[in-house]
């Protein structure tokens, strides 16, 4: 845990110093502190250029923070989904969030006048929420959400929405295809401090809820009846967690597009490292998700500079080999991957 905090801080600091405009780590730190604490002498004595200040405060920091927030949010949403649907293959997008967001964003590009990040974000958020509501209603029957029905409804609706997105992408002008692909693969390149508000608010709210309900989440791991006999209101808990996970994922997708892999794999890595107990595993997933995605974003904008690799591509490129390595180790067997 302390290691993860250190890694996260180090990655964030490194992210602010790497780029075309040279800024030393000390200067980067001074700029950040200067913006947070009023009246710091170095902000007005001319030792830092406006260019440096802008590079850090307007571009690199918001972007690194957004990547970290999105990583933490997706990992948390994934861990919650896996617990409430009793399925280790569940991930945040199983609710149709990213597929819905894709349709929303692509429709905006195809039908709209052009490409604006705010318009696309709003359209994506609306699409995400509509898709989630549809999956939720389809999975609801006799006052109960059956996990299996939820998964299947999510997969089916996801395919439907992806088909619509693919068709719209092919049918649209060639110049739009690049923006669409970039959105679908996920990116935090347009981040500003303003973009952070929605995902950060969602992350804090859902994070507190999850941590407070960690014991009940543990009970859900052993099945609905067993959890109910331990005093957990299973139906209410499942509905609550699904709404929480949908808001979390929707707020991330609206700002960053569909970043894959994090929500599925970070919870598993956390379980392999510290076990299935949510009281230990959730903090590791939150910090691990943040550090992982911040690292991926740093690589995404440096590896092929000056052009950028889509974040969704890097998460899988970096994450998959690491995960496969963990999966082959003995420790993974103790969390049940060999069954």
């Amino acid at each position: 845990m302390p290691t993860l905090v250190l890694v996260l801080v180090a990655v964030l600091l490194l992210s602010t110093t790497v780029g075309t405009i040279a800024v030393s780590p000390t200067d980067a730190l001074r700029i950040v502190i200067g913006h947070l604490v009023p009246g710091m002498p170095w902000m007005s004595d001319g030792s830092l250029s406006t260019l440096q200040d802008n590079a850090i405060w307007q571009f690199r920091l918001p972007r690194a923070l957004l990547a970290a927030t999105a990583g933490a949010a997706l990992a948390l949403a994934g861990a919650l989904m896996q617990a409430v649907v009793h399925n280790s293959l569940a991930e945040p997008y199983i609710l149709g969030v990213s597929a819905g967001a894709g349709v929303g964003a692509v429709s905006f590009i195809v039908l709209g006048v052009g490409v604006s990040s705010l318009g696309m974000g709003t359209a994506a958020f609306v699409g995400a929420l509509m898709a989630t509501a549809a999956v939720y209603l389809l999975a609801h029957k006799n006052g109960r959400i059956a996990p299996q029905r939820l998964i299947l409804a999510g997969v089916a609706l996801g395919s439907l929405f992806s088909a619509v997105t693919s068709y719209l992408t092919i049918a649209t002008d060639a110049q739009n295809v690049f923006s669409i692909m970039f959105f679908l693969l996920g990116s935090v390149s347009a981040a500003t401090m303003g973009h952070l508000a929605l995902p950060v608010a969602a992350l804090i709210a859902v994070g507190l809820y999850a941590v407070f309900r960690a014991r009940a989440l543990n009970a859900l791991l052993i099945g609905d009846d067993a959890a109910a006999s331990l005093g957990v209101n299973v139906n209410r808990m499942r509905s609550g967690v699904l709404v929480a996970a949908a808001l979390l994922t929707g707020s991330v997708v609206a700002v960053c597009g569909g970043i894959g892999f994090v929500g599925l794999v970070i919870p598993h890595i956390s379980r392999i490292l510290v076990g299935a107990d949510h009281r230990k595993m959730l903090p590791v997933a939150l910090l691990g998700g943040a550090a992982f995605l911040a690292t991926c974003d740093l690589l995404a904008r440096t590896l092929a500079a000056p052009s950028e690799i889509p974040l969704g591509v890097l998460t899988a490129l970096v994450g998959a080999p690491f995960f496969l390595w963990l999966l082959r180790r003995d420790r993974a067997g103790s969390v049940g991957v060999d069954r």
Binding site: A219, A226, A228, S229, G231, G275, D277, V335, G336
Partner: protein, 278 residues
């Protein structure tokens, strides 16, 4: 804690599976539920433990209707050991038993030393202390049953509801578990298949057949060869144990007049339909 089951009926999958069952279980006594597969034992126990809602009638604990209790309050009174459990995620045995402490704790908190001590004691009582650090899914069927029973004990409730807890257990562990049930001062409702073990271990037995309570009383009054033939469709011989003198049953064969084992099926389902029809 006294458990009262009054005029209880329950449906499962739209079909009536328990009808008009009334049983009073005095505080601290052991009630054994007997009956062939599909006779409604599990459903009855699910309703008693609040996991399924009755279609009519009620269950009360010391006079309080269980539907008036909050989930947590019910979980502090009734612990359940069911036949099925999910295994999608792996868990060490001690953590599995510690889940039984959930109704007694709040929120994020770490397991208290007392919780851990209670869980370890429960494991010791079922003879599974040496399994504490093992992974639950790596256990044998019998070891799992004992761990699940330890979880129910660790829940520290005045009432225990056990659905076929002796499944998969070797004879030594069956006897050990039933003796443990007898020696607690808790009120126990337990579904069993072994008639001789039930007679040995229960204060009262209730025999369910096609959802109805056919007979209820002390084992020596209730269990006899005629009942075994009509309910289970098996011919048996009653013998006195040479040492204790207690009645035991030797099972001879399926009774010839009921080759399907359910001599009165048609008659029963007709009466059920008649009573259930509005």
């Amino acid at each position: 804690m006294r458990v009262d089951i009054e005029n209880l009926a329950a449906h499962r999958g739209g079909r009536p599976v328990v009808s008009d069952v009334s049983i009073q279980v005095p505080s601290g006594s052991v009630l054994g539920l007997l009956g062939p597969n599909g006779s409604g034992k599990s459903t009855l126990l699910r309703v008693v433990s609040g996991l399924a809602a009755p279609s009519s009638g009620r269950v009360s604990l010391d006079g309080t209707d269980i539907t008036a209790l909050k989930r947590t309050d019910l979980a502090r009174r009734v612990a359940v050991m069911a036949q099925e459990h999910s295994e999608e995620f792996e868990m060490p045995v001690l953590d599995m038993v510690l889940l039984g402490r959930i109704p007694h704790g709040r929120g994020y908190g770490r397991d208290s030393d007392q919780d851990i001590a209670t869980a370890q004691q429960a494991l010791e009582r079922v003879g599974a202390a040496h399994l504490a650090d093992r992974s639950f899914s790596a256990l044998s069927g019998g070891e799992r049953q004992r761990v699940l029973f330890a979880r129910a004990l660790a829940q520290d409730t005045p009432v225990l509801v056990l659905d076929e807890p002796t499944n998969h257990l070797d004879i030594a562990h069956q006897i050990e578990l039933l003796d443990l049930i007898r020696s607690t001062d808790r009120t126990v409702l337990v579904a069993l298949h072994d008639l001789n073990l039930a007679a040995r271990s229960c204060d009262t037995v209730g025999v369910l057949h096609q959802g109805r309570l056919l007979s209820l009383g002390a084992p020596e009054e209730v269990l006899h060869t005629d009942l075994i033939r009509s309910v289970f469709g098996v011919d048996s011989t009653s013998v006195a144990h040479p040492l204790s003198g207690r009645r035991h049953f030797l099972f001879d064969s399926r009774s010839p007049e009921s080759p399907d084992g359910r001599p009165t099926t048609h008659q029963f389902s007709r009466t059920q339909e008649e009573t259930e029809a509005p």
